[in-house]
């Protein structure tokens, strides 16, 4: 448990989690930064949020590879009767 004497961990974690930090006043944003400098647990929490994004992007790449392998864009275009005029015979 970290005692920073300023913002509480729960308030910082909630602001980070709901992505509301950017909407806060300069003073509040500064207080969040200061808290993060002093609190290793909240820094870890912030890292967890970044890890979720990294993981989601990794998932995105895996699905993209799957779509590319299935030639998805071309397949759906053909099924909808849409072909590039440049490739028509």
């Amino acid at each position: 448990m970290e005692e920073t004497g300023m913002m509480r961990c729960k308030e910082v974690a909630t602001l980070l989690d709901t992505e509301q930090v950017a909407d806060e006043s300069f003073r509040k944003r500064f207080a969040v930064r200061l808290h993060l400098m002093m609190c290793k647990h909240c820094r870890r929490f912030a890292r967890q949020l970044r890890h979720l994004h990294v993981g989601a992007q990794s998932m995105r790449s895996a699905i993209d590879s799957e779509a590319a392998a299935a030639d998805l864009d071309q397949k759906i275009s053909r099924r909808l009767g849409l072909t590039d005029p440049g490739t028509r015979e």
């Binding site: 992007q57 990794s58 699905i63 998805l72 864009d73």
Partner: protein
Amino acid sequence: MTTEAADDLIERLRRRDDRTLLAIVQEHARPLYRAARGMGFRDQDAEDLAQDVLTTFIQTLDRFEGRSQVKTWLFGILHHKVHERRRTLARESLTDSIDDTFESRFDADGNWVRPPIDLERLVASRELGIAIHGCIEALPDSQREVFVLRELEELDTQEICKILDRTVTHVGVLFHRARARLRECLETQGWKRPA
């Protein structure tokens, strides 16, 4: 997009210009497929959904007035198609046990009593993506949809609100619950720093 460019796009869409429609299909088929896969549909079902959304878009072009981006409009159609297939739109609980789980990690003064676990070991590896893919299965549909739109598709909150026809506050709550549930899942699956 400028007003002139938007008007030009709408005009080309209204006369069903092949080249414009083809460009739209080729730009958006994959994101639609990706979102459907993220929301839990199998590959063939996700492909059918993406095609179904684009077919509906083309059939109902006259309703598209350009007040939102094509992408937002398409994801709105996807949202409705997903719920048609799941038939679970009606009821959504106002309370969620994950809120209590989040609360329980702090004491009455708002300090951590159960601090986050370091997931550093998984960064820069496919493992984290695979782990999240597993954990996402346990999310309630509405939370999963918001997480996919925000973190996979990187849509902003305003776009997500339009797509789901929900308030900023509601989307914020769903996103918070999704992330809290995923963090808990990753921690309990044993993704801990090696001793």
